[in-house]
């Protein structure tokens, strides 16, 4: 069995036969015609444009009722086809340098597509796919070939392609396509957006997929974990068939909770937050009340050099613009441990998870820390932003970090640079030592957020990267719930906001217990929102409190999990 990895941009599981899709491939060579035929060849181009417009018009008409969203893609294609600069560019090449129409079209569209690809905004860069799509349409018509697409498939298949153009995804027979695998594309590409709207599992960026797989191959596509299993064994197939049934059942029940107001059965409102780690626009911002964790590492890890203040400021501002008005909790740089930067020398440590990481490292590299804080403070003038420090172990850490913030603020004030004077400053609670003095910490900060992954690791003394001891990593242990209950109670008592942004908040069982322990702010990955909302909607406040009390008295994590599962199953 061979496993290929990819980026799961549309969740789901699919088992089935591979269908390698190769769209019309334009074979264009640089070529010119003799003088005097300018008008003739220009007319050829104009005819092709007219035919392309006709094709597009009929697609728009066919789709405008059933799927107006997709019709818009083709309306945009007409705009591109008729674009003044494109038309002029082709005309000029035909008349001035007697270029054959196909080569002129290829040149002009490619130039513009490359131009768009360079745009910083991923949504604009993704539009390059539309240009290539329109180019292919015009070239195909120039060649006199008919439209080829995925609209008439004879059996259920998993489509494997280098890339799918918007016209491929929009016209494909969605009843026959069980999954989509492409070699290129990201989470905001057209293929990804369309796959999500059709609820077709999609894995993009699977390297060499069309080379490795063959038509008719049996594969399992796991677009939950992000992998394709080639030649799976019988047991694996069986396991996945069960997984698929389970997944479909759950999806059907939970998906309708996505846009519901988060309420428990007795009517208490709580807040759902989103965890983000890029500047990609995300439709899920509209289903949440806040961004509980904005990881800034991508700015550093995606760069070849230490990111400048301006680069960071631009990125933070963009996230604020994407967030649809939701307050954004920016976590300052959290590297060290398993995350390193290629342009920064970090001494090798015996125990990196107990070493010089996150806030400790920042306080040690004060210029780097100040640059990030300046960028964050400047961004705070453009939207509701708050700053949070990771890996805080003592009150000394809090005071040291806040002193740096004050220094940077003072500097900005002197220079007359705008920032939010009332910006909230908070901490991550992930080291037990600060959790145990949550009452004192609450006096020093404006808010806190619990990172349950690291808290589990440090409370249980289990390196979460070490595969040999995964059974010792128990985030739902009675000890976890005891310390969490204490943290929530102290912050609630102090009247300071407390949230959880670790994985336990997105685990519907964990969220249920934590609600009972007094938590009202849960920040998670988008994929978990509907499930958490659904489970919490089944319980009254009193019931969650009973459950929370009960689990703290159970002896093992296994008992805790089986007890909570039982309570959830009882209610459906």
């Amino acid at each position: 069995m061979r496993i290929l990895k990819g980026n799961p941009v549309s969740r789901g599981v699919a088992l089935g036969k591979v269908y390698i899709y190769k769209a019309f491939k334009a074979d264009v060579h640089e070529s010119y015609f003799e003088a005097g035929k300018e008008e003739e060849f220009f007319r050829k181009y104009q005819d092709a444009v007219a035919n392309a417009e006709k094709e597009l018009d009929s697609i728009v008409t066919a789709m405008s009722e059933s799927s107006p969203e997709k019709a818009k893609i083709f309306t945009a294609h007409i705009e591109i086809l008729m674009d003044e600069e494109v038309q002029e560019g082709v005309k000029e090449m035909i008349f001035e340098s007697r270029t054959m129409p196909d080569y002129a079209v290829d040149e002009v569209y490619t130039t513009f597509a490359t131009l768009l690809e360079k745009a910083k905004d991923p949504l604009i860069a993704a539009r390059a796919a539309d240009l290539r799509d329109v180019r292919n349409r015009v070239l195909r018509i120039l060649k006199g070939e008919k439209e080829s697409n995925l609209s008439s498939l004879r059996e259920n298949v998993i489509v494997v392609a280098h890339d799918l153009l918007p016209s491929d995804t929009a016209t494909m027979d969605r009843n026959r396509v069980m999954g989509i695998i492409t070699e290129v594309g990201g989470a905001t590409s057209h293929t990804a957006i369309i796959a999500r709207s059709y609820k077709i599992p999609a894995l993009l960026g699977v390297a060499d997929a069309t080379e490795i797989m063959r038509n008719g191959d049996n594969v399992i596509m796991d677009a939950l974990a992000g992998k394709v299993l080639l030649d799976p064994e019988k047991e694996t197939i069986k396991e996945y068939q069960e997984k698929l049934v389970e997944y479909i059942k759950e999806e059907r029940e939970t998906s309708q909770y996505l846009d519901k107001i988060p309420l428990v059965a007795s009517g208490e409102r709580y807040s759902i937050g989103l965890n983000v780690g890029s500047t990609d626009p995300d439709e899920n911002f509209k289903y949440v009340d806040f961004v509980g964790l904005f990881r800034t590492e991508f700015v550093y890890m995606g760069s070849e050099h230490m990111p400048t203040e301006q680069e960071q400021f631009d990125a933070y501002k963009r996230v604020l613009a994407n967030a649809m008005g939701n307050p954004v909790t920016l976590r300052t740089l959290d590297i060290g441990g398993d995350k390193t930067l290629r342009y920064m020398v970090m001494p090798k440590e015996e125990n990196p998870f107990l070493g010089n990481r996150a806030l400790r490292l920042c306080l040690d590299h004060i210029d780097m820390f100040k640059t990030q804080l300046r960028a964050a403070l400047r961004a705070s003038a453009f939207g509701p932003l708050q700053i949070m420090f990771p890996m805080v172990g003592t009150i000394d850490d809090i005071r040291a970090a806040k002193a740096v913030v004050n220094e940077v603020k003072e500097d900005l004030r002197t220079k007359g640079i705008a920032f939010d004077e009332k910006i909230l400053i908070g901490i991550m609670i992930e080291i037990p030592s600060i959790g145990l003095i949550a009452d004192m910490a609450a006096k020093e900060v404006d808010f806190a957020s619990v990172g349950t992954n690291d808290l589990t690791q440090y409370l249980h003394a289990v390196d979460r990267m070490n595969p040999a001891i995964t059974s010792h990593y128990q985030s739902m242990s009675p000890s976890m719930f005891r310390i969490l209950g204490r943290i929530f109670a102290e912050f609630n008592k102090a009247g300071k906001p407390i949230s959880v942004c670790g994985e336990l908040a997105g685990d519907h069982l964990g969220a249920l217990v934590m609600f009972g322990l007094g938590l009202r702010k849960f920040s998670m990955n988008a994929a978990n929102i509907s499930r958490v909302k659904r489970t919490l909607s089944l319980f009254t406040l009193e019931e969650t409190e009973d459950i929370a009390k009960k689990v703290q008295g159970l002896s093992t994590e296994a008992e805790v999990i089986s007890y909570i599962k039982g309570e959830v199953d009882k209610r459906g």
């Binding site: 945009a76 705009e79 591109i80 674009d83 600069e85 360079k118 745009a119 905004d121 949504l123 613009a321």
Partner: protein, 92 residues
């Protein structure tokens, strides 16, 4: 030649629908119409009647721009496009 400066005020900037609306309106005029971003010295005036050129500018919210027109209906062209930007394209 007539020109006016402004700043993009709608949250999504000159992308997608707003960009299409902007270009469609520019096309209603006979004059040559351009948009130039003012926060980048290297930026050249872009043909406002070309959706691709407009998109390629990557005009996000807050970007200062100059709308210029040259031709028989230049004043009306600039004023109408200016108003469209001011109206935030119907976004809040």
């Amino acid at each position: 030649m007539y020109a006016k400066k402004t700043e993009l005020k709608n949250a999504s900037g000159l992308h997608a629908r707003p960009a299409s609306e902007f270009v469609a309106m520019a096309k209603q005029f006979e004059s040559k119409v351009t948009v130039q971003r003012l926060d980048d010295e290297a930026a050249l005036p872009a043909n406002a009647k070309s959706i691709i050129k407009i998109l390629a500018q990557g005009l996000a919210v807050g970007t200062p721009i100059e709308i210029a027109a040259d031709g028989p209906d230049e004043v009306e062209a600039v004023e109408k496009l200016f108003e469209l930007v001011e109206s935030k394209f119907g976004e809040d």
